[in-house]
Subunit: 303 residues, 2 copies
Amino acid sequence: MHSPLFEAVPNFSEGKDGTKISRITGAVDAVPGLRVLGLHSDPDHNRSVLTFAGEEEAVLSGATGLAKACSDELDLASQSGEHPRMGVLDVFPFVPLEGATMEDAVRLAHRAGESLGRLGFPVFLYGSAATAPHRRVLPDIRRGGYEGVASRLEDSRWKPDYGPETLDPHKGAVAVGARPFLIAFNAYLNTDDVEIAREVARQVRESGGGLPAVRALGFGVGGKAQVSMNLTDFERTPIPVALQAVRSAAADLGVSVESTELVGLAPLEAILQAARFYLGLRELEAHHVLETRLYDPSGNRSL
Amino acid sequence: MHSPLFEAVPNFSEGKDGTKISRITGAVDAVPGLRVLGLHSDPDHNRSVLTFAGEEEAVLSGATGLAKACSDELDLASQSGEHPRMGVLDVFPFVPLEGATMEDAVRLAHRAGESLGRLGFPVFLYGSAATAPHRRVLPDIRRGGYEGVASRLEDSRWKPDYGPETLDPHKGAVAVGARPFLIAFNAYLNTDDVEIAREVARQVRESGGGLPAVRALGFGVGGKAQVSMNLTDFERTPIPVALQAVRSAAADLGVSVESTELVGLAPLEAILQAARFYLGLRELEAHHVLETRLYDPSGNRSL
């Protein structure tokens, strides 16, 4: 078994200035053993989302370097954008990957929180790393953005978990969390009626009494009605289960699913779930996949 | 893109003597960059099947070392076993893996054939590496085992592709080939009637007019009727297509598939085929799988 791997998905408040963005992401590039999996910069929201992965110490070091770079490069007082932000480094979730448990990710979130606190960021832990039930959900923590956080600092229920108990207006606060891998999965219906997609979305999503750990919205995309889903915990609701629900709700409305798409990456386990589900396999694990055996850096060469 | 990878699956004529077997496989262990994926030794057949993988030069070097070790350790004249064998190193297929085409595997088979020829083995190329249509199918090459090969050597249609045109009775001849990855996939029926499994097998296999590149037999395993399949070219007949045929043939006979199993390894592409097929995905490639991105040794760390 090699060391547990983690994904980190920092959201920082700069989506326009390429030079600043690359100086910030450069702090992650500089750490040996980290791999950048994606960078999405949105000029309208003036916000970037970086995805990187590696072992615990490397991820921690990348997280600290990135926070320092955000602090050096960005100034919340002069920043503007559509997205409600609470800090230059706004949200920082850690995700357990291969070999890692959610407990491992919670520990990493605490270590990162402590380290970011020492850099002068008030840190609010959320998700599985939350230290109280009312601080578990991200929107509750960031309600009202920077101003909202500032107004709640006097309230003992909203003291930061790490770092100063006052806000530096140039830096702001950061939400650090632990959560499962998020899968973005869309289903296209054989209709252009967006209202049907919206109705299907309402039926399948958790907030409408549908499937746990499923967020869903209806859109019109390329002349087709699209049910756009976020599976926020694919161990609880795997892709095939979400799709069955969409197919069934669509059928009730007289339409069907024409095709589907994965946006971004999916963990191998999510693909294996689908193969197991539909093929009726008694067992299918990562070590049954040839490539896993070829690339496992610690795999024994001989038997 | 990293270098193309190949799998090699040498079958050699020793399945009892652990010391000899480990001296032979040790020749592969000794080559840096090779990974042993499996070793199956069968004492009754007095035969072992080794599976290893790596880049072309490493695989070629492992193949040569293994052939030399077989030559040093084994003596066909004193060997006996149920399996009809034609040489101490009996069959040696090469399989294209990630980044490799069948043409690449054919070239590797030729290079390995030339090298084994220089070691004194008469080499017959088969499968995609065959140099004539009548030499394509392995059973045709090895018909009658050592004695059969010996009797055909005078026939110009059965001259070796490489190596001496006479047989050393201690060493024998070897069939060197190129073929696709073989997937072993079984379906268990909700009946104990083996005759039903046999009938399903007859209907789905290529030789019975069923699916291309599918071999199938019916067995009784653990009180269940089992349809045991070899998918010899999963690009032509993917797992879900084979399973649909079994489910349909089973339904016609009044039974159903209860569960399935993969024996040994399957390439990631075969799993992705299943996910694409059942989920209706517009696209799903290896680079959409998180782990592929994490472990691709040549993957760019930054964007």
